[in-house]
């Protein structure tokens, strides 16, 4: 371990610099409520279609049901993920990841690092992948996934997704008893910034949310997303899908979704997620997959008999 412990923001800066050097483009956190970095359009949408995509970003991730009023040492309404997506997955992605730990001052020879099988699935987004959780001296610090299916569609080009749980990683590096004791930077503690919102959001999600309003919003958001999908407006549609999803999570946390309704809501979100993935690919195909530079691949996808070649009928 380094003699001077990295602050949380040092960790972010280090990871950003490291992955930028590996060819990832630094995105900013998506400005819409999401439950995980995977839900950001920079991952979810870009994972479909044949275009290469390399990005890294911090994503604040809201999970209303995980709120603990700021009382639990490591469970949070909102935590921060550092998300890296590399598509197509590089042959040395594991080595690149291990390099990032070294950049953080975690020398593999001084620890025990393992790749333990953990396949990831998010049924409501129709997404599934194969991979591992990475254990650092027995603690899970990273989720490592090769996407196989996104939005119910088998991917054309496999994205390697590396998701660091920033609070966990920082807790390990700084060796503090609770996340609230973490040094965010310049001596300001994580608790100084997030304890109050944690309490308030927990209170809101579990006790104070207006369920009638949320139910109405869910219906509105769904209707809007569906309408926008009909117009081929992928990104605004996706925003409303994210809003639907978060609204459902709030309803679920408040316990106001009955058991049978629950499955119904998840089904509605899944249906939208599948549609948006399809429309995203169609719209990118219309643009000619501008990020796809490899001529052989362009032939496969856009050539005379290409998978996405536009024909007269469409």
């Amino acid at each position: 371990m380094t003699s001077q412990k990295l602050s949380l923001q040092d960790i972010i800066l280090t990871l950003q610099q490291y992955w930028a050097n590996q060819g990832a483009n630094l995105m900013q956190a998506y400005d819409n409520e999401v439950g995980a970095g995977t839900q950001s359009p920079y991952t979810f949408l870009r994972a479909n279609g044949p275009e290469p995509w390399h990005a890294a970003y911090v994503q604040p991730s809201r999970r209303p049901a995980d709120g603990r009023y700021g009382d639990n040492p490591n469970r949070l309404f909102q935590h921060h993920q550092f998300q890296v997506v590399m598509k197509p997955s590089p042959d040395n992605i594991q080595e690149l990841y291990l390099g990032s730990l070294e950049a953080l001052g975690i020398k593999p020879l001084e620890h025990d690092i393992r790749f333990v099988e953990d396949n990831w699935e998010n049924p409501s987004m129709g997404a599934a992948g194969i991979g591992w959780e990475v254990w650092l001296d027995g603690m899970e610090v990273t989720q490592f996934t090769y996407f196989q299916q996104v939005g119910g569609i088998e991917v054309d080009s496999v994205t390697a997704e590396v998701t660091y749980g920033l609070e966990r990683l920082a807790s390990y590096i700084q060796d503090v008893p609770t996340v609230y004791d973490l040094d965010w930077g310049n001596g300001v503690l994580y608790g100084d910034i997030f304890k109050e919102p944690e309490y308030e959001h927990s209170k809101y999600a579990f006790e104070a949310s207006d369920q009638t309003m949320l139910l109405r919003h869910f219906d509105d958001f769904e209707k809007e997303a569906t309408r926008l999908l009909d117009l081929g407006l992928v990104h605004p549609a996706y925003d409303y899908i994210l809003k639907s999803s978060h609204t459902f999570n709030l309803l679920d946390a408040s316990g106001s979704v009955s058991v049978t309704e629950r499955a119904g809501y998840l089904h509605r979100i899944r249906t939208m997620a599948r549609r948006v993935s399809k429309v995203f690919i169609d719209e990118r195909a219309k643009l000619g997959f501008p990020l796809l530079k490899d001529n052989d691949l362009r032939e496969i996808y856009l050539g005379e008999h290409g998978k996405y070649t536009l024909t007269e009928e469409n």
């Binding site: 371990m1 044949p50 040492p73 490591n74 197509p88 997955s89 590089p90 042959d91 594991q94 080595e95 291990l98 593999p108 020879l109 001084e110 620890h111 025990d112 690092i113 393992r114 790749f115 333990v116 099988e117 396949n119 194969i130 591992w132 650092l136 001296d137 027995g138 603690m139 090769y146 196989q148 054309d156 080009s157 496999v158 390697a160 390990y172 316990g255 009955s258 058991v259 049978t260 629950r262 499955a263 691949l297």
Partner: protein
């Protein structure tokens, strides 16, 4: 003689697939070698999380040459009218890569002797990539990068060496070579193997123990050394410890065992919770003292050497403490509430969205359990315990502990039930109702637990059938087959004769819409099908299993199981063939829906009729079945002689309607007895 080495370098393979993949690689390689007639000596397999490999010793220089005789057209067809070789003959020769000059004429046909010369080993082995490596099958697959090729994990390198020579082939864009990779951290990335024989030593010097058995033995000995030094009792002989050892072995390449500790205060938490935290969540081995008391220490294995082991120990201890802290918190919190509080929450817990809540499931199970208890003549105490257990047995699902440690469902239920003042029988039944938890898992010991286990599973089967969520093919997402197997195994282990048909019919009548659309016959067939499966697993002949499970009547599972065994036992009798022939002859003639079962002795025309009548008039199916399938078989076997004599002397289909009907009545009576053994016509007699 040469040595061949094949190594498939992979990203970390799931631990539970490493050993089976190693065996598969050997099996496929053997098939490959046989198909190419290439002789080798020993095959030595290797596996680690990052590689599957094998060494073929004493590889022959080339495959065995082969002489095969191929028969061509007949002599008449081989020559045309001019005495020249016909088109057919020339075509045959061409097809075998020869000319008609090579024909031999024998037995009225033309023949060619086809010599296949030996193919050099290196040429054959260059096909192992396509014919073995690419053909491997796994239970989980993935693709990577822009490939569509599926494999268990990405292939990152390939080594193929015949002695010092690289055997060239590709899988995807990966070409074989002599460069392997050592331990991820302890070794440099690329390690060169000079010679196929040097594989194990080369890897050992690169901090990889490639021989999985050897690696496991080392782990075991390291763990035992630490335990012995500290006077801890470590038991590795039980199945969960063996599984853990197997898993740990397949997540390390260079094992170093270490021990860690946790605060005494956590020992107040139930042992099962501590063990689950250590074993299931952290892959630690737990230790006890000489008296069997759990100790606040654990053993684990690092993938690396002893350098900076203190970091590793501290990190692992910290993670465990965080888990135990949670566990202790839940344990304390859970006891602040009452069973009734948890039951109130169970009312909102879904059983299945199409069926309803767990609470409703429990209420039905209570009803079914009561009917089963009646059928089993339980005394009042047992019935009271059963009713109470059925009322609360899922409450622990709503506790914080089970929310966090879901594998402890039932176990925590039993524990908390005791703390909340439930009696021993009720507490035990709560844990036992999940049993058996695996195909060969233990059966509930207590009577109350066993009935609850059966009722819980049967209700699931009936309601899922009613909701048309019926398993098909290999698709059984709700584990209904496992549940049915559990019912069968519990009934047979307990030796409980219960006629499931009337019990379930009453149950369905009493539970209304949620079970109404279930086809009771389909449900019973589904359960009986598990009897069939278990008997087949016991290596009982398929025809006998079919005979014993057909005509399952009221679906008394124990009786069905017994009669299969009885038939299987008697299949070795000298007179089995005669007995079955005689009885199936009766069965074939008898009417499916008997018109009459009244035999009038006045209408007999010969002695054999009288004799058969005398032999059967005392036999009562109900009484015989009550004495068991063996008694019934004995009684029917005793009829073999009278039946044979009867058929020798008696014509059944005579013109006289009265006499004919009287004879059918006689056969029908016997056939009803025969049906008590199943459908004997299924039995194949040679």
């Amino acid at each position: 003689m040469s040595t061949f080495l094949l190594e498939i370098g992979l990203e970390e393979v799931p631990a539970h697939l490493v050993t089976s993949s190693e065996s598969q690689l050997v099996a496929r390689t053997k098939e490959f070698l046989a198909a190419h007639r290439l002789t080798v000596g020993d095959i030595k397999p290797f596996s680690t999380p990052r590689r599957l490999a094998l060494q073929l010793c004493d590889v022959a220089e080339e495959s065995e040459a082969l002489s095969e005789e191929k028969r061509g057209p007949s002599v008449e067809r081989a020559k045309d009218e001019n005495g020249e070789w016909s088109k057919a003959a020339q075509g045959f020769a061409r097809g075998q890569g020869a000319t008609p000059e090579a024909f031999e004429v024998r037995d009225g046909y033309v023949w060619l002797t086809k010599h296949t010369t030996g193919v050099p080993a290196n040429q054959i082995l260059s096909q192992i990539g396509e014919e073995v490596v690419s053909q491997m099958k796994f239970t989980t697959y993935m693709k990577w990068a822009n490939h569509s090729f599926l494999y268990v994990r990405p292939i990152r390198w390939l080594v193929a060496l015949l002695d010092e020579q690289v055997i060239n082939f590709n899988v995807l864009d990966i070409a074989t070579g002599r460069v392997t990779r050592g331990h991820r951290f302890l070794s440099t990335e690329h390690v060169t193997i000079s010679d196929a024989q040097a594989y194990e030593e080369t890897l050992q010097s690169a901090y990889v123990l490639a021989d999985a058995e050897n690696r496991k033995a080392q782990i075991k000995s390291q763990l035992e050394t630490i335990a012995n030094r500290n006077h801890w009792v470590l038991s590795l002989d039980n199945a969960p410890a063996q599984d853990l050892l197997e898993e740990v072995n397949n997540i390390v390449e260079w094992p170093t065992a270490f021990s860690g500790s946790f605060d005494q205060k956590y020992l107040e938490v139930p042992d099962e919770v501590l063990i689950t935290s250590m074993r299931e969540h952290q892959r630690f081995f737990y230790v006890r003292d000489a008296t069997g008391k759990l100790l606040p220490h654990f053993l684990s294995v690092r993938n690396g050497d002893t350098a900076h082991l203190d970091n590793v120990i501290a990190g692992n201890e910290k993670v465990l403490v965080a888990r135990l802290e949670d566990a202790e918190f839940f344990y304390r919190e859970d006891q602040q509430k009452k069973i009734a509080d948890y039951m109130a929450k169970v009312k909102t817990l879904v059983f299945h969205e199409k069926i309803g809540t767990v609470y409703e499931h429990m209420q039905r199970v209570g009803l079914l359990a009561e009917k089963l208890a009646d059928a089993l003549d339980f005394d009042d105490d047992k019935k009271t315990d059963l009713a109470r257990a059925a009322e609360i047995y899922k409450f622990d699902l709503m506790t914080g502990m089970v929310g966090e440690f879901d594998e402890l469902q039932g176990v925590m239920g039993e524990h908390y039930a005791r703390l909340f003042g439930e009696n021993e029988h009720v507490a035990t039944a709560i844990r036992e109702h999940y049993m058996p938890t695996s195909a060969n898992g233990n059966i509930a010991k207590s009577d109350v637990g066993a009935v609850l286990a059966i009722a819980d599973k049967l209700d699931a089967i009936v309601t899922f059938f009613a909701a048309n969520l019926i398993p098909s093919g290999s698709n059984d997402p709700y584990g209904l087959r496992r549940a049915a197997t559990g019912v069968v195994r519990t009934l047979t282990t307990k030796h409980w004769h219960i006629a499931l048909q009337p019990v379930l019919a009453e149950f369905m009548a009493a539970t209304g819409a949620v079970t109404a659309s279930a086809d009771l016959m389909a449900v019973l067939s589904f359960v009986v099908d598990r009897v069939r499966k278990l008997a087949l697993d016991d290596d009982i002949r398929q025809d006998i299993v079919s005979a014993g499970t057909d005509n399952f009547a009221t679906a008394d599972i124990v009786y069905l199981t017994d009669r299969i065994q009885v038939l299987a036992n008697h299949a070795h009798d000298n007179n089995f063939r005669e007995v079955i022939s005689a009885l199936t002859r009766v069965a074939r003639l008898a009417e499916k829906t008997p018109v009459s079962l009244n035999v009038n002795p006045q209408l007999f025309e010969n002695e054999t009729e009288k004799a058969l009548y005398a032999a059967t008039s005392e036999l009562q199916l109900v009484a015989l079945e009550a004495n068991g399938a063996e008694a019934l078989y004995q009684a029917l076997a005793a009829l073999q002689m009278p039946i044979s004599a009867y058929f020798d002397a008696t014509m059944v289909n005579v013109d006289n309607e009265q006499i004919k009907n009287n004879r059918y009545a006689q056969l029908n009576i016997i056939n009803q007895l025969i049906a008590g053994l199943g459908n004997l016509e299924d039995i194949v007699i040679k």
